[in-house]
């Protein structure tokens, strides 16, 4: 934690090596979100780069007292992705058009690649869907409950229940690890 703190204060001083290290730590997690929102690899790569440029340029706006670095970076990635979807870069659009014939096929394959993993997979389908919509699709609660065709209140409780289940799953895996460690020793 303290290592990350010093990394972040170096970032805020304009240290490019700190940015490089933070990229190594967080780019994968952020790219996982970005590509699921954009559903287009070229655009997602641009958005990932833009996200880190924003992190670099706005580093001083990050306040460690208000939350984790990842949460701050996630919000930037999410907003940058949604902006890119609203105002797609003409360069990327023409690229897509040039390979239009293969596009549908490719996208299908990629979406499969972007299938959700980890403890999320253990959740009930509607809980998994609710988290996917708000976290990996970048929809607001108001947009997502319409997407799932349930009332807002119901949707809110889906998200809360999903997070609770996720919490239990993480605690269980932690417990299993502890038991396993004890058993090995």
């Amino acid at each position: 934690m303290s290592e990350e703190k010093s990394l972040i204060s170096k970032l805020q001083e304009g240290n490019t090596r700190a940015l490089s290290k933070l990229y190594d730590d967080y780019a994968g997690a952020l790219y996982g979100v970005i590509i699921r929102i954009c559903k287009n690899e070229a655009q997602a790569q641009d958005v990932l780069q833009e996200t880190f440029v924003k992190i670099w340029e706005n580093a001083n706006k990050y306040d460690p007292g208000k939350g984790k670095f990842y949460t701050w970076a996630y919000r930037i990635a999410r907003n940058t992705s949604l902006n890119a979807l609203r105002n797609p870069s003409p360069l990327i659009q023409s690229d897509d058009l040039s390979v239009y014939g293969n596009k549908a096929e490719l996208e299908e394959e990629k979406i499969n690649l972007h299938e959700l993993k980890g403890s999320l997979k253990q959740l009930n389908a509607h809980h998994q869907k609710a988290l996917e919509l708000v976290y990996f699709q970048g929809l607001t609660h108001r947009e997502a409950h319409k997407e799932m065709d349930v009332p807002l209140g119901t949707f809110k409780s889906y998200v809360q229940q999903a997070l609770k289940k996720l919490r239990d799953a993480y605690q269980l895996s932690l417990l299993l690890v502890c038991v396993l460690m004890e058993w090995i020793i």
Binding site: G14, L30, Y31, G32, L48, G67, Y74, S119, V134, Y135
Partner: protein, 262 residues
């Protein structure tokens, strides 16, 4: 939204999730942050939620292609090189240069003022010395003037009788002039015409009253005009050479000059 949001409402209505996801308006963010500051338990719940979401994100991480990072590092290092460090350096250097110039200027002006004050003090002292010297001179001149005036008045007084004391064979070159004033009862002697004597000798003046020589005083060696003692009913003035400091009785063989009063 109500600013005084209750922790219970925040938990139940899913505000924490939407806060973390970045769905809230600025006003709503402020309200949630206020509540988090006031309620440590709520803050702990949020930290947990935040950690869970981060873990979920890491479980679903996808490695981006490596060219994204190289492009990013190129971009920021260009920005870095062209703006941030140079600006910082330039600013720092400029500030340093300004600070150094100011310090130098201050140092030079301080030194200049210091030496200026010193030289002014010296000048002042010099002027004061000169002033004291001039004042001494003035006093000296004033006393000279007073003396001269005194002699001038004595010599030019209508009652003054001028008597020449010419040297006899004992001192043929001697010449003294005396001014006797009976009204003012004064005798002034101009002794500059008397030849120089040895260190152990002095001229002494005497008045003859009824055949008795009465002392009128020793004539100082380095003075030109001298006031001698006025003697009542004196008949003649006499000058003798006596041992230094004067004698009680005149050494008649050493009489060099005498003159009778009418």
């Amino acid at each position: 939204m109500d600013n005084m949001m209750e922790s219970k409402e925040i938990r139940e209505q899913g505000w924490l999730e939407r806060y973390l996801l970045g769905e809230l308006s600025e006003e709503e963010v402020r309200a949630v942050e206020d509540a988090l500051r006031k309620d440590p338990q709520l803050k702990m719940d949020m930290d947990q939620l935040e950690a869970d979401l981060e873990k979920m994100a890491f479980e679903n991480a996808i490695d981006p292609p490596s060219h994204v990072k190289s492009q990013l590092m190129d971009q920021v290092s260009k920005v870095n090189v062209t703006t941030i460090p140079l600006n910082e350096n330039r600013n720092n250097r400029a500030y340093l240069a300004i600070a150094a110039s100011l310090a130098l200027l201050f140092g030079i002006s301080s030194f200049w003022l210091f030496s200026k004050v010193n030289s002014m003090e010296e000048d002042l002292q010099l002027v004061q010395e000169e002033n004291a010297q001039l004042q001494d001179n003035v006093l000296e001149l004033q006393s000279d003037l007073a003396e001269t005036t005194q002699w001038y008045e004595a010599v030019n007084d209508p009652g003054a009788i001028k008597l020449i004391l010419a040297g006899n064979t004992n001192s043929p070159n001697a010449l003294a002039i005396s001014y006797v004033n009976h009204d003012k009862k004064s005798v002034v002697l101009d002794a500059k015409g008397l030849p120089r004597l040895a260190e152990d000798k002095d001229y002494q003046m005497w008045a003859d009253v009824d055949g008795v020589m009465i002392d009128m005083g020793v004539i100082p060696k380095d003075t030109e005009m001298i006031a001698m003692t006025y003697i009542e009913r004196m008949e003649s003035l006499n000058i003798t050479i006596e041992p230094a400091g004067g004698n009680d009785h005149p050494t008649v063989e050493n009489l060099i000059s005498n003159v009778y009063l009418n």
